[in-house]
Symmetry: C2
Subunit: 472 residues, 2 copies
C-alpha cells in the first residue's frame, strides 16, 4: 500500500491541531517512540504527536484519512508483537497525555479511565477504594491500560478472573472518519446490536483510537496464599496444572517456569534468593485468593495433595508479604531476564491447558530439529506458554533461515492442539505472516472486510495483524 509522505504544509496543519509543544520531529523523540519491547526493532514515525483530547485525535485522523497518511497509536511501548512500531513512518500517535482516571464509581463497581493510565496505577487507585481490577500483565508497571485493551492483555490472574476483554464494558473511540462514538453501554450485560466493544478489544489499533474505557471492577479480596512447587520433570509440572483444576480448585494464579528461566532470572534480579537442587527442572508458582483464610489453607492443602502425586521437592509456602513480593518479582522478571541474556524471539502460544505437556515436548523437539534452544514459562493455568527462542551461539544464517521454519512448526502444533498463535501479546508486526496457520481464507477475508468497514483509507496502524498478502 502506498502512503503520502508528510510535507512541511502537513506538519504545519498537524501543529495547528495539537499545539507546538506536542509535535516532535527530532530524532531522539522519533526513535524513542519508534520501538516497543519487540526484539530489537526500531521504526521511527516521521512525526510524533501527543494530542490531549478526543477532538484533537478526531482532527488528526480525519486529516490523515483525507491525505492517506499512516497513523500508528503508541501506548506504553511494552508490546511484544510490534503493534506500536511505525513501520510505514507517518504519524506516531502517542497517548501519553490521556493519563487521567476519570471516575471510580464505587456504587456500580466500575471505573472510567483514559487509555494512557499505567495499569499498575489503575489497579492501585481502585484498590484504595477496596476494589479489584484483576488483569495484571507482567509489564503492569509501565504498560498503558489502553494498550491492554488494544492487545487484549492477560497476566497471571486470567485463569480465575479472565483477561482484559472480560472487564471492558464500553469504549469511547475515535474512528478514522473523525467520528467520536461510544461502542456500547456501561452495563454488565448487553444484547443490543453487534458487539462493537468486543470487536475493538484486541484490534491492536487497526480500527480506531480508544479515548475512554469503562471497566467493571470486583470487590477486593483480603487474603491469599502463595506456594512454589519444584518439579523434577518439566512435563510433569505441566501435567499437574490440569489436575489441580480437576480437583475442583480454581487458583488465582498458576505460573510455570522452566529451570533456565529461574536460573537466569535469579542472576538478573536483586534481593531474591532461592536454593534450588540441581535436579529440579521446573517450578509451578501457585496462588489462591479469597476472603476466608481457612478456606484458602484448605485449598492450598488440596493443591499440595495433587502435586505430591508427581515427583516434586519440598513445597515453599510464602510466609510473609516480602516473600510473596520476592516470588512475584522473580516471576515477572523472567521475560526481561531471558532477553537480556541473548538475542531472542518470543512466541505467545496458547492451548487448552491439558495439552500443555504435549506442547512443551513438541517445542523442544522442534527446537532440536532446527537447532535452537528455548526457554519456556508463562501462565500455565490458562494454557498460555511463552516460548523464548534464544539465539545463543547459533550462526546468523541459521537464525534467519531455520528459526522461522521452527516457529511455523510450533504454531502448527499449537493449532493442531486446538490452540492458537497468541494468548495475550497480539499478532502485530512479527506474527502476522503466520495468521494463515490459525485461519483460512474465509476468516481472513472477513477480517479484512471489517478492517475496511472501519478504516476505508487503510491509515490505521497499517501492516499489522493481517498477513501481507491479505493487507495488500
Amino acid at each position: 500500500m502506498e502512503f503520502t509522505e508528510l510535507n512541511t504544509q502537513m506538519i504545519a496543519r498537524l501543529e495547528a491541531i495539537v499545539g507546538r509543544s506536542f509535535l516532535f520531529l527530532d530524532n531522539e523523540t522519533r526513535n524513542d517512540y519508534g520501538h516497543d519491547e519487540t526484539e530489537d526493532y526500531v521504526f521511527p514515525p516521521a512525526v510524533v504527536l501527543k494530542p490531549g483530547t478526543p477532538e484533537e485525535i478526531s482532527s488528526i485522523l480525519k486529516f490523515a484519512s483525507e491525505n492517506h497518511i499512516p497513523v500508528t497509536p503508541i501506548g506504553g511501548r511494552t508490546g511484544l508483537s510490534g503493534g506500536a512500531l511505525s513501520i510505514h513512518g507517518g504519524i506516531g500517535l502517542s497517548m501519553d497525555r490521556f493519563n487521567n482516571i476519570i471516575h471510580i464509581d464505587e456504587n456500580n463497581l466500575q471505573v472510567i479511565t483514559e487509555p494512557g493510565v499505567i495499569t499498575h496505577n489503575l489497579r492501585e487507585a481502585v484498590a484504595e477504594k477496596g476494589l479489584f481490577y484483576p488483569p495484571d500483565p507482567s509489564s503492569l508497571g509501565s504498560c498503558f491500560i489502553g494498550g491492554n485493551v488494544a492487545e487484549n492483555a492477560g497476566g497471571a490472574r486470567a485463569l480465575k478472573y479472565g483477561v482484559t476483554k472480560d472487564y471492558v464494558l464500553n469504549l469511547e473511540v475515535v474512528l478514522p472518519t473523525g467520528e467520536i462514538i461510544w461502542t456500547g453501554a456501561n452495563t454488565l450485560k448487553n444484547s443490543t446490536g453487534y458487539n462493537l466493544t468486543q470487536l475493538m478489544v484486541g484490534s491492536e489499533g487497526t480500527l480506531c483510537i480508544v479515548t475512554k474505557i469503562v471497566m467493571k471492577l470486583l470487590p477486593a479480596n483480603t487474603h491469599n496464599v502463595l506456594m512454589l512447587v519444584p518439579f523434577y520433570d518439566e512435563a510433569e509440572a505441566c501435567e499437574a496444572v490440569a489436575k489441580i483444576f480437576n480437583a475442583g480448585i480454581t487458583p488465582s494464579a498458576l505460573e510455570f517456569m522452566e529451570r533456565d528461566a529461574i536460573d537466569w532470572t535469579l542472576k538478573f534480579v536483586d534481593g531474591v534468593n532461592l536454593d534450588i537442587k540441581p535436579e529440579i527442572k521446573a517450578h509451578l508458582l501457585i496462588e489462591v485468593d479469597g476472603n476466608f483464610p481457612d478456606v484458602l489453607f484448605a485449598e492450598a492443602e488440596k493443591i499440595a495433595t495433587v502435586v505430591e502425586q508427581f515427583r516434586i521437592d519440598e513445597i515453599l509456602f510464602a510466609d510473609s508479604e516480602e516473600q510473596k513480593n520476592a516470588l512475584w518479582k522473580l516471576r515477572r522478571a523472567v521475560g526481561e531476564a531471558v532477553k537480556s541474556n541473548s538475542v531472542y524471539k518470543e512466541e505467545d502460544t496458547v492451548v487448552p491447558r491439558y495439552e500443555l505437556p504435549t506442547l512443551l515436548k513438541g517445542i523442544k523437539a522442534i527446537g532440536k530439529k532446527y537447532g535452537f534452544s528455548s526457554v519456556c514459562y508463562g501462565h500455565a493455568g490458562d494454557g498460555n506458554l511463552h516460548v523464548n527462542i534464544v539465539k545463543g551461539d547459533m550462526t546468523d544464517e541459521a537464525w534467519k533461515s531455520e528459526v522461522p521454519k521452527g516457529i511455523r512448526e510450533i504454531f502448527e502444533l499449537t493449532v493442531s492442539l486446538k490452540g492458537t498463535l497468541s494468548g495475550e501479546h497480539g499478532i502485530g508486526y512479527v506474527q502476522k505472516n503466520y495468521m494463515d496457520i490459525a485461519f483460512g481464507p474465509a476468516q481472513l477475508r472477513l477480517m479484512k472486510a471489517i478492517k475496511e468497514a472501519f478504516d476505508p483509507s487503510g491509515i490505521m496502524n497499517p501492516g499489522k495483524v493481517l498477513p501481507d498478502w491479505v493487507n495488500g
Copy 2:
C-alpha cells in the same frame, strides 16, 4: 428489500438437500415454526427445513444466497424479541436435529455441543461430571443453547458468573457463502486477530448459522443459601441491591420482583405458598453459592445486615431443597404468569445497577403519563429490569398509539442512565426501530457494514436487529 418467492423447482432442490422427511410445507408445521414467545406474533416461513449436518446447511445457504431467498434460523422458539420470526417468509431453518452434546472435556473443563441442545439438558449433563455451566435463562427448560448464543442470553446467575458470551470460546459456523469455518480457538485467552467469536455471539442469526459451540465450564459448587427478603418499598428494594455489592459480597443471584409479579405468579403456579403482608411492595430473592457452608452463612448474615437497614419484613431462609426449588419455580414463572394475565409488551431494560431505583421510578411515571401499568421484575444484581407493560383495560387505540411513545421514553431514560435497550433478550424484530436511541449513525453504519461483509445478499434473518431505515 425484495426477495424471491420459492417455486416448485426450488422446493425440489431443497428437498434434495435435506431429504423428504425433513422438509415441511404443511400449515401446521409452518405456523408452529412461525412463532416464538414474542407477544402474539406469527410469521410462518414458506417452508420449514430441518437439516442434519453443517454440510446440508452449507448447501441451503449457498442456494439461498444465489437465489435471494430469506433464511430465518429457528431454535427453541422461546425468544422474547421476535428473532425467530420468518417475517419475510422463505426458509425457516430449524436447528432441532443439532441436538447432540458432542464431548464433555473433563480435562480442560470445556464442552463441545451442537446448538439444538436444550440449555437445561446441557447444564444437567455437565453437572453429572461435577461441572457447572452457569448461564440459566428463565426459559432454560425449553430454549436451545444455540439460541442463547444468538441472543447472548443471561439469566439469574449472570451477576456473579457472567452471560453466555463469557463462556463461548469458539464456534463452528456456516457463512451465507456456504463456507464452514471456526471463528477462534478452544482456548481461555486469545489475541489472534479480530474477535470473530464475540462478534457472532448476540448477532441473532443475522450473520451466520452456528453449528458447533465450544464453551468453558467451571468446577461445580457444592452449596448455596437462598433467602427471600420482603420490602415495604419497591425503590428501597432496588437501593439495597447496590449496597449488597458495596458490602463486598457478590451473590450468585439477586432477583427483584414487584408485588404484582409475585401475586400473579402465586395464582399461576401450583404448589408454591407464601404468606405475604398486604403492605409488602417488592421482594429480593438472594442466593450465595460456594463450597464452604460456613462462608455462605457468614455472607448471608452480612446480606441480612445490609437489607435490615431498609424497611423489610422477616427474611425467609429456604431450609430445604424443596423450598429452594419452589422459590426458583416462582421466580422463573413470573414472565409467563404476567403474560397469561393480559395482552402485554415486554422490554428488557438494563442499567448500571445503582441506577435501578431511578429507572423503576421513571418507568412508573412514564406509565402514568401514557396511561399504562407495568409489572417489573428481573435480574436486579446486574441492573437488568424486565418491564412488562400490560394492556389491562386500555383501549386498543391507546395501546397502539400511546404505548410505543412510552416505550421510547423508557428507553431514552435507560440510555440516559448509561444503560441500553436489551440486557439479554436481543433486539430482534420488536425493538429494532428503537436502536437509534442507543446508537448514532456511525455505529449503525458500522453494524450495517459488518452485516454486509458477512451476508452480502442480505438473506440471513432479514429485517432484524438494525432499524428498517438502516436495513433498507
